[in-house]
C-alpha cells in the first residue's frame, strides 16, 4: 500500500471522493464495510451523480480505493502508525 504523509485538517481516519473525477459507478458504496459512502443528488462536471463520504465511520481500510476504477477519484487518509 502506497503511504505518503500529508498535513491535513480532518479527523482521522477519513476518505474523500474527488467529486469531478467520480463516474458514479457505485462500487465504493457497494464495498464499504461501514456503509459510510453515499450518492449525492447532484451531477458533477462529467454528468454523473457522484459519491461522497457521509462524514463518519471511516476506518481507513482502503477497500473503497481499490474498488474504485478511477485512478484519482478516491483518497484515503489514515492515522500515522506509531513506530516502536
Amino acid at each position: 500500500m502506497t503511504e505518503e504523509y500529508v498535513e491535513i485538517d480532518l479527523s482521522l481516519p477519513s476518505m474523500k471522493v474527488v467529486s469531478n473525477l467520480c463516474k458514479g459507478c457505485g462500487l465504493c458504496i457497494e464495498h464499504c464495510p461501514k456503509d459510510c459512502i453515499e450518492f449525492t443528488d447532484k451531477f458533477n462536471e462529467l454528468g454523473y451523480k457522484y459519491a461522497k463520504y457521509s462524514g463518519e465511520g471511516c476506518t481507513g481500510c482502503g477497500i473503497c480505493f481499490y474498488a474504485c476504477p478511477e485512478p484519482g477519484a478516491i483518497i484515503v487518509y489514515k492515522k500515522v502508525r506509531e513506530k516502536k
Binding site: 500500500m1 502506497t2 503511504e3 505518503e4 504523509y5 500529508v6 498535513e7 491535513i8 485538517d9 480532518l10 482521522l12 477519513s14 474527488v18 469531478n20 473525477l21 463516474k23 458514479g24 459507478c25 457505485g26 462500487l27 457497494e30 464495498h31 464495510p33 462529467l46 454523473y48 481507513g60 482502503g62 477497500i63 480505493f65 481499490y66 474498488a67 474504485c68 476504477p69 478511477e70 485512478p71 484519482g72 477519484a73 478516491i74 483518497i75 484515503v76 487518509y77 489514515k78 492515522k79 500515522v80 502508525r81
Partner: protein, 478 residues
C-alpha cells in the same frame, strides 16, 4: 495533523495529456470498468518495486488500446493480438526492462491465440496480464472466445450455443499445461477478497520477472458493465454467479520457487563468425572490378524455367552470386505460379549495373528453358533480340520466333555424360557466359564450391561448366 494517504499511485501520469484537451484526470473507461482497478494495481506494484522507470507496458487492441495515456512508464501499442511478440522483442533487446503485456480476451484468446502460446512456450521472461470480460468491449459487445454458453451478445443474440460456437476457452488452464511458464493464476475483481487476490497475483507475476524466473500469466475476470448491459454492481455479481463457476479463480501453476534465475546470453557476432557459420570463410576481399565493366554491363533480365529437380532455382542462385561477386547489383526470386502444380519451377534473376527496383522479369531478355512446357509458357514474353537457351535433350521443338537469338544445347545429355544429370544447369551457365562474354566463365569456379551443399559433387559441377563452354566454342563460335 499528519496523515498517511492512499491515493493515485506515482506510476500514473499526473495529468493524462495524451487523452486530449479535456478530462485529463479521468480514464476513458466506462463507469465500473475493471481496467481502471487493474491499472491502479499495476502502477502501485511497479512503484513499490521501484521499477516504473524501467518498465514497458505493451497495450493491445481493445478498450485498453489507450493504456499508454495513463502509465508513466515506457509504452508501446501492438497490432491486434501481437502484444506478446512485441513484448518478446522488447525484452530480448532490453533484458533489464520489465515488460508487461496487457491484453483483453478478444486480443489474447482469439486473434492472438498463437502469439501468447508461443511466447509462453518459449518461457519469455515477461508478465502477461489477461483481462477476461467474456466479450469484445471496444467494438460494442460481440461474442468472444471466452463468452459463456448461453450468454447473449450482439453476435449471439439468442445466446452462445455449444453446437454453433463451441465452449468458452480457458486460457489459464491451457497455458498451465505448458512446461515453460513459471506462474499461472486466475483472479477476479468482484470484492475486497478477490481484489486483494489480484493484487498479490500481479505482484508475484512482476516479481518473478524482476527475479528473471520466466513467464508469468495472470488472468483477471473483470466486469464490462456496458458490454453486458447491467450496472457496475450487478456486473460484479454476474462474474461471481456466472463466470467464476466456469472460470475457477485459483493458481494453476506456480513453480517460481523451484526455477533458477535465467538469462539469455547476449553477445555480438563478428563478421568473421557470421562468415564461418554460413560456410563462407574462404571468401576473400571484395573483388576489384574495372569501372568500365560495371558501366558497360547490359542489364540481364533472366528467366530460368524447367522441371523441379533440374536445378532451375539453384542455377539462378549461382548466377546471381557470381554477378554479385563481380560487384554487380543482383536479384533472385523463385516464382510459384499455378504451373508449379505440374511440377515445374522457374526463377527470375536480374543482373544490373544499377540498383534494381523490382525483382520480377515479366519480359526477360534471357530465357533458359530446361523443358518443353517452359518454352510454351515463356517464349512469347522474351524481348525482341533477346536470347533463348533451349535444352534440346528434353525440348522437342524449335523456337517459333525469328526475332530472338537461340542456342540449342543438349544440356541434360552433356551432364549425363559426366554422370550427373542434375548438373545440366551448370552446363547451361557455362554456355551462357561463354556465349555472351558478359562475365568470364571462370568466375563461376569461385562461386560453385561455396554454393553447392554436396561438396563431393563440386568437381563434377565444375566439369559441367567447362563442357558448356566447350559446346559453345565448337558450335556457336562468333
Amino acid at each position: 495533523m499528519k496523515a498517511a494517504v492512499l491515493e493515485k499511485p506515482k506510476a500514473f501520469y499526473d495529468k493524462f495529456e495524451r487523452k486530449g484537451k479535456t478530462q485529463q484526470e479521468t480514464t476513458h473507461y466506462c463507469p465500473g470498468c475493471g481496467h481502471g482497478n487493474l491499472h491502479k494495481i499495476i502502477t502501485e506494484a511497479l512503484s513499490e518495486f521501484g521499477v516504473d522507470d524501467r518498465s514497458i507496458i505493451v497495450s493491445p487492441v481493445g478498450c485498453s488500446v489507450f493504456a499508454y495515456y495513463y502509465f508513466d512508464t515506457g509504452n508501446i501499442q501492438a497490432a491486434h493480438g501481437r502484444a506478446p511478440a512485441v513484448a518478446t522483442g522488447l525484452k530480448r533487446s532490453n533484458p533489464e526492462s520489465i515488460v508487461i503485456s496487457y491484453q483483453g480476451d478478444g486480443d489474447l484468446a482469439a486473434i492472438g491465440g498463437d502469439e501468447i502460446l508461443q511466447a509462453a512456450n518459449r518461457g519469455e521472461n515477461m508478465t502477461v496480464i489477461f483481462v477476461n470480460n467474456a466479450i469484445y468491449g471496444m467494438t460494442g459487445g460481440q461474442m468472444a472466445p471466452t463468452t459463456l454458453v448461453g450468454q447473449k451478445t450482439t453476435t449471439s443474440p439468442y445466446g452462445r450455443k455449444i453446437e454453433n460456437e463451441g465452449y468458452p476457452i480457458r486460457m489459464s488452464e491451457i497455458i498451465a499445461t505448458l512446461e515453460a511458464p513459471v506462474y499461472v493464476e486466475r483472479t477476479a475483481l468482484v470484492d475486497f477478497k478477490t481484489i486483494n487476490h489480484t493484487k498479490r497475483a500481479i505482484r508475484k507475476a512482476i516479481k518473478n520477472q524482476i527475479d528473471k524466473k520466466g513467464f508469468s500469466f495472470v488472468e483477471v475476470l473483470a466486469p464490462c458493465p456496458t458490454g453486458w448491459k447491467i450496472t457496475p454492481v450487478d456486473s460484479q455479481k454476474w462474474i461471481q454467479q456466472h463466470m467464476m463457476p466456469y472460470f475457477p479463480v485459483q493458481a494453476f501453476k506456480d513453480v517460481s520457487d523451484q526455477r533458477e534465475s535465467m538469462e539469455i546470453e547476449q553477445r555480438d557476432y563478428s563478421d568473421q563468425e557470421v562468415l564461418d557459420v554460413l560456410g563462407l570463410s574462404q571468401l576473400g576481399e571484395k573483388k576489384q572490378v574495372p569501372a568500365s565493366f560495371i558501366e558497360n554491363f547490359p542489364t540481364q533480365f533472366m528467366k530460368i524455367a524447367g522441371f523441379g529437380g533440374q536445378g532451375v532455382l539453384s542455377a539462378g542462385v549461382v548466377m546471381a552470386a557470381c554477378a554479385m561477386n563481380e560487384n554487380l547489383e543482383v536479384t533472385w526470386i523463385p516464382s510459384y505460379g499455378p504451373e508449379m502444380r505440374g511440377g515445374t519451377a522457374n526463377c527470375s534473376v536480374i543482373l544490373s549495373n544499377s540498383r534494381i527496383g523490382s525483382p520480377l522479369t515479366t519480359n526477360p531478355n534471357v530465357l533458359i528453358v530446361m523443358n518443353g512446357p517452359s518454352l510454351d509458357a515463356f517464349e512469347d514474353d522474351v524481348q525482341p533480340n533477346g536470347l533463348i537457351i533451349v535444352n534440346t535433350s528434353i525440348v522437342d521443338r524449335r523456337v517459333k520466333r525469328d526475332d530472338v537469338d537461340v542456342l540449342y544445347i543438349p544440356l541434360t545429355e552433356i551432364a549425363s555424360g559426366l554422370g550427373l544429370t542434375a548438373a545440366a544447369n551448370m552446363v547451361c551457365l557455362g554456355a551462357y557466359l561463354e556465349y555472351t562474354k558478359l562475365i568470364d566463365y571462370k568466375s563461376l569456379f569461385e562461386i560453385v564450391p561455396l554454393a553447392i551443399k554436396k561438396k563431393h559433387l563440386v568437381d563434377t559441377n565444375l566439369k559441367a561448366i567447362k563442357e558448356g563452354v566447350k559446346y559453345i566454342r565448337e558450335n556457336y563460335s562468333r
